[in-house]
């Protein structure tokens, strides 16, 4: 049973296996980077701008607005990280329209890597915002007895991020494969559309949860400053 794109190996040298996950991940990265470079090559500030520049502007301002609504005061700082998360996961699942493509997020390795990125980024941004002491004090926040529970909750929400994305992507591709052997042609198309929708929703959920964790970590450093501000 083909569980994940890790099983399809194209080339092997020693213990390094070029499997479908790595191939599709790097292909996506190439597409995103080269595409953005070509679009932003000549930016225009006037009334006449190319449609691709328009599209990218809509996406970037939309993501910045969402980040601000979640609670991060200066979205420009986090736009690179959170925007990349959203775009990578959304593109990874939208390209299932192309036949022969398998989403690299359907492999537990990719989703664990993305979750570890979030796990590392939260202390990084928290310390950058307020200093090491303030960030570490947040772990003792309600009472110091909560310290082990706070640590466990850090680890478990990272795991939850990884398994949630992996489970959604894997179940989409697996249900499609099973249905193709039972009732081909019409019903699988409806489920493919549903898979596209859940892919984009899961991309949004992943980046919004990352933003919420970042907001909690950076707000913990500014907890005295924000006491007077209305939320």
């Amino acid at each position: 049973m083909h569980l994940s794109p890790d099983d399809t190996i194209y080339w092997q040298l020693g213990f390094f296996k070029l499997n479908a996950t790595i191939l599709y991940t790097w292909g996506l990265m190439l597409l995103l980077v080269v595409g953005s470079k070509m679009v932003t090559h000549k930016l225009s500030m006037g009334l006449h701008r190319s449609r691709w520049q328009n599209l990218l502007e809509i996406i970037v301002t939309g993501i910045a607005k969402q980040i601000e609504e979640v609670g991060l005061r200066q979205p420009q700082k986090y736009l690179g990280f959170l925007g990349t998360l959203f775009l990578f996961i959304a593109m990874a699942s939208l390209f299932t329209i192309v036949p022969g493509y398998e989403p690299p997020t359907g492999s537990l390795s990719t989703t664990t890597a993305l979750a570890i990125c979030v796990f590392v980024a939260v202390p990084l941004f928290g310390i950058q915002e307020g200093g090491v002491k303030k960030y570490l004090k947040a772990y003792l926040h309600p009472t110091f007895i909560m310290l082990p529970f706070n640590i466990i909750s850090e680890l478990s929400r990272t795991l939850a991020l990884a398994v949630r994305l992996f489970g959604n992507m894997m179940s989409g591709t697996m249900i499609l494969a099973i249905l193709l052997t039972i009732t081909p042609f019409l019903f699988p198309i409806a489920l493919h559309a549903l898979g596209l929708l859940t892919g984009v929703v899961q991309a949004y959920i992943f980046s919004v949860l990352a933003a919420v964790y970042l907001a909690a970590a950076t707000r913990a450093s500014n907890v005295k400053l924000n006491a007077e501000e209305p939320d």
Binding site: E69, R164, G167, N168, M170, V201, Q202, Y204, V208, L209
Partner: protein, 96 residues
């Protein structure tokens, strides 16, 4: 019944029960969440963006539980370590 049969029967029954029972809770929870969100949308339509976004995030957290049950049942059916061990032992026994 030898041990291989017991492993197979237990895995199959548990896989079915896991996904069956594991879907009940999240389904009920999501239904309640959506109904409360609809009620508050009807009360305050101009907070629609915040309510919808919070609803989606909450639904994803609740859905995760069902996804965990699904992953466990898939592991039991397709990547079962006990079954692989039993198969390896049976192959060794017939090989000798």
């Amino acid at each position: 019944m030898d041990s291989m049969t017991i492993i197979a029967v237990a895995s199959i029954i548990t896989a079915g029960l896991t996904i069956a029972l594991g879907s009940i809770g999240p389904a009920l929870g999501e239904g309640r969440a959506v109904s409360t969100a609809l009620a508050s949308l009807a009360q305050q339509p101009d907070a629609a963006a915040t309510i919808t976004r919070t609803l989606f995030v909450g639904l994803a957290m609740v859905e995760s539980i069902a996804i965990y049950c699904f992953v466990v049942s898939m592991i039991l059916l397709f990547a079962n370590p006990f079954w692989s061990f039993a198969i390896a032992q049976a192959a060794q026994a017939t090989g000798k």
